[in-house]
C-alpha cells in the first residue's frame, strides 16, 4: 500500500501477521499486511469493527509484537528488536494519540507534556518547559498550561494528548480513534490540529477512524477488511 520508494518510507512493514487469543481460541487478525508511510502525509485506516485496524496500529507502534513479517521504522529494522530497544524507539520515533486522552490527572497540562521529554533526556528542564508551552500554544491551550489535566474539558484533554504525542518531535504519529470520544466541533478541531501539525512538522500521521468525514480529509484512505488492506484512495 502507498507505492513509492520504500527506502524513503518513515515506517514500512512487509507481510505482517498477528494472531490474538490463546492457543485454543486463536484468531488470525492481521494476514500479511504491507504498508509504507511517508513524512508529511496523513493516512486514515478505515474498515469494519474487528478487521484489525487497531491491532495493526499497535503492532506498527511497537506496543504489540507481530508474529510474522518485517517492520522498519525510520531506517531501523525493529522486527526482532528487544523490549528495551522497542521502548526506546517508541520514545524517540512515535507519538500516540488514543481514543481516551490517557493524561495523568495528577499533573498539569505542561507536566503531562514534559513526562515523555524527561524520559528522552535530551533537553534541559527549562527547555522542556518552554517546548511544552509552545506545543500547548500550538493546540490553542496557551492559557491553560498550568491547569491540572482533570480540570480540562474533553476536547481540551484530547488536544493536550496531541501536544504530548508531539513532545519528542517524532517522525510518526499514530492515532487510534482520536475523535471517537468527541463531538463534531471538537472532532474537527482535533483532526485539523493533527493534519496541520503533520504538514508543519513533516510527520507521517496514521489515523484509525470510523468517521468517514475525518477519513475523507486525510491524504490517503487505507481500507481494511479481514486483516488485509483492500484498497487505497487518495
Amino acid at each position: 500500500m502507498h507505492e513509492g520508494d520504500p527506502s524513503k518510507a518513515v515506517l514500512s512493514c512487509r507481510g505482517v501477521h498477528k494472531y490474538l487469543g490463546d492457543e485454543t481460541q486463536q484468531v488470525h487478525v492481521l494476514k500479511g499486511v504491507d504498508i509504507n508511510l511517508y513524512r508529511g502525509n496523513t493516512y486514515a485506516i478505515v474498515g469494519p469493527s474487528g478487521c484489525g485496524k487497531s491491532t495493526l496500529l499497535y503492532t506498527l507502534g511497537l506496543l504489540d509484537r507481530q508474529d510474522e513479517g518485517h517492520i522498519n521504522i525510520d531506517g531501523i529494522d525493529v522486527t526482532k528488536a528487544s523490549d528495551e530497544e522497542r521502548t526506546q524507539i517508541r520514545n524517540e520515533k512515535i507519538g500516540f494519540v488514543f481514543q481516551f486522552h490517557f493524561l495523568l490527572p495528577e499533573f498539569t497540562a505542561t507536566e503531562n507534556l514534559i513526562i515523555p521529554m524527561w524520559k528522552r533526556g535530551n533537553r534541559k528542564a527549562l527547555t522542556m518547559e518552554r517546548r511544552a508551552h509552545m506545543l500547548l500554544q500550538s493546540v490553542g491551550l496557551g492559557d491553560k498550561t498550568h491547569r491540572l489535566a482533570n480540570r480540562l474539558s474533553g476536547g481540551e484533554q484530547q488536544r493536550v494528548a496531541i501536544a504530548r504525542a508531539l513532545a519528542n518531535d517524532p517522525p510518526i504519529v499514530l492515532a487510534d480513534e482520536p475523535t471517537g470520544n468527541l463531538d463534531v466541533r471538537n472532532s474537527n478541531i482535533v483532526f485539523d490540529l493533527l493534519y496541520q501539525l503533520s504538514k508543519k512538522n513533516n510527520q507521517a500521521v496514521l489515523i484509525v477512524t470510523h468517521n468517514p468525514d475525518i477519513a475523507r480529509r486525510c491524504d490517503f484512505i487505507l481500507k481494511m477488511r479481514d486483516g488485509v488492506f483492500t484498497t487505497m484512495d487518495s
Binding site: Y58, L63, T87, N91, F96, F102, I115, K119, R164, G180
Partner: protein, 398 residues
C-alpha cells in the same frame, strides 16, 4: 496509603519505645548489680590436678613424660587475699579491689529477730568497688566509717525490725551475741540484698565469725564492666582463684531481660508487618487502578524498570515519611513515659519508668521497617512492570 503510613509510624514508634524501656530497665538492673556486688568477684581458691603420662619411643628407646590437667580441687574462700589483690590490680581495666568476709547471723532488737548475712568490708576501699555511698537513705556514712561497732543495714531489714540510725542491734553467731549500733540504712533496690545484708568493718566480722584472717571473696570494680567476661580467664590464670564476672553471676536475670526484649520487639514487629501488608495491598490496588496510566507511560517510552521504580519510589517515600514520624512519635512517647511515676522495688529501685536513649534503637526500627515495607512494595511494582500496554489500550478502545 494513610493506613499504611499510620501503621509504619505506630510500628516504628512502639518498637523504639519497647526497646528503650526494656533496655532502660536492663541497664538499671546492671547498674544496681554492679553497684552492689561489683563487676568481678574473686572467690574460692582452686588447684589444678596434673596427671603424668610416660611415652616411650620404640625406635630410639627414649622415654619422656608430660602432664595433663585432670580436674580441679576447690577450697572455699580467698587465700593470701593481699597477694590476690596485688595480682588483680595489675590489670589495666581494674579500678579497685576490696576484701569481704561473709557469713550467716541472727539479728535481733527489742522487737524482732531476723536472719541476716553479715558482710565484713574494708570500709574505705569498699566504697571504690560499690555504690554503697550513693545508696544510703538514712544515717551517715561518716559515722559508719568512724564507729568500729557501727553497722549499715538494708532498708527492708530496717523496716521489718523498725530500726532507725542510732539504735542498737544484737548480732549473734553460734549463740554468741555482739552489740552494734545502726549508723546508716542503705537501699540498693534489690530486695534480696536490702533484706539480709548487714555491713560491718571486716575486723569486726572476723571477730564475730572467729576467723581472724579469712576473706570470703574479693570484690573488684572495672573501668569497662562490659569486659569483665573477657578479663576473667586471664585473672584466673594469674591469681589461681575462681573469678566470677557479673555477666555470669546474673545470667538468669540477663537472659530474662533479653527474652523480654525479644518478645516485646517481636510482638510490636507485627504492627510493622501489618503496615507492610497494608502497603502491599495499597500498591496492588493502585496498580489495578492505574493500568491505563502505566500503559500510557510504557507507550511514551518508559521501560518496565522505570515502571517498577515508580512504585518502589512511592513505597520508599511513604516508608521514609513513616520512619521520620515514627522516630518523632517514638521519642515523644519515650519522653512521656519516662515522666510517669511508678514505684518499683525488687531487683532495682526506681520511682519512674526507666528508659534508655540510644540511637541504635531508632536505627534498628528504621532498618526493620524499611526492609519489611520495601519488600512488600516489590511484588506490586513487578506486577505493574509486567503489564502489556497493548492489552490495556485495546481493552479501552471503542
Amino acid at each position: 496509603m494513610i493506613m499504611s503510613l499510620t501503621g509504619i509510624v505506630l510500628g516504628v514508634a512502639l518498637f523504639i519505645l519497647a526497646l528503650s524501656m526494656t533496655t532502660g530497665f536492663e541497664q538499671l538492673f546492671i547498674k544496681t548489680v554492679l553497684g552492689a556486688n561489683g563487676a568481678v568477684r574473686v572467690q574460692d581458691k582452686f588447684q589444678e590436678n596434673l596427671v603424668s603420662y610416660q611415652i616411650s619411643q620404640q625406635e630410639t628407646g627414649n622415654q619422656f613424660e608430660f602432664g595433663r590437667a585432670a580436674g580441679r580441687k576447690y577450697r572455699p574462700g580467698v587465700e593470701h587475699a593481699d597477694k590476690v589483690i596485688e595480682g588483680i590490680m595489675e590489670f589495666k581495666n581494674v579500678i579497685a579491689a576490696s576484701k569481704v568476709l561473709r557469713g550467716g547471723v541472727e539479728v535481733s532488737n527489742n522487737f524482732k529477730e531476723e536472719p541476716g548475712q553479715l558482710y565484713g568490708i574494708e570500709k574505705d576501699t569498699h566504697l571504690l568497688v560499690s555504690d554503697l555511698e550513693e545508696q544510703i537513705v538514712f544515717g551517715s556514712l561518716l559515722e559508719f566509717q568512724r564507729n568500729p561497732t557501727g553497722v549499715m543495714i538494708g532498708s527492708v531489714l530496717a523496716d521489718r525490725m523498725l530500726l532507725e540510725p542510732g539504735e542498737s542491734i544484737i548480732i549473734s553467731e553460734a549463740n554468741e551475741p555482739y552489740r552494734f549500733i545502726v549508723e546508716a540504712i542503705y537501699e540498693t533496690g534489690y530486695r534480696e540484698i536490702d533484706r539480709e545484708r548487714i555491713f560491718v568493718d571486716i575486723n569486726q566480722a572476723r571477730t564475730v565469725f572467729k576467723r581472724p584472717h579469712e576473706t570470703s571473696y574479693v570484690q573488684v570494680s572495672l573501668f569497662d564492666p562490659e569486659k569483665a567476661d573477657d578479663d576473667r580467664f586471664m585473672m584466673e590464670a594469674v591469681v589461681q582463684h575462681i573469678v566470677a564476672p557479673w555477666q555470669e553471676r546474673e545470667k538468669v536475670w540477663l537472659q530474662f531481660f533479653k527474652a523480654l526484649r525479644v518478645i516485646s520487639s517481636a510482638s510490636l514487629l507485627s504492627i510493622i508487618i501489618i503496615a507492610g501488608l497494608g502497603m502491599y495491598s495499597t500498591l496492588a490496588i493502585i496498580v489495578m487502578e492505574k493500568t491505563r496510566e502505566i500503559s500510557i507511560l510504557r507507550s511514551m517510552g518508559y521501560t518496565r524498570k522505570d515502571v517498577t521504580n515508580i512504585f518502589i519510589w512511592q513505597g520508599f517515600i511513604v516508608t521514609l515519611i513513616g520512619i521520620g514520624f515514627g522516630w518523632l512519635t517514638g521519642a515523644f512517647l519515650t519522653y512521656t513515659i519516662s515522666r510517669i511515676p511508678i514505684r518499683i522495688r525488687g531487683i532495682f529501685s526506681t520511682d519512674t519508668f526507666v528508659v534508655d536513649w540510644s540511637f541504635s534503637h531508632y536505627l534498628l526500627a528504621a532498618v526493620i521497617a524499611f526492609f519489611i515495607v520495601m519488600t512488600a512494595c516489590i511484588l506490586p511494582a513487578r506486577r505493574a512492570s509486567r503489564l502489556e500496554p497493548a492489552d490495556v489500550v485495546r481493552g479501552t478502545s471503542g
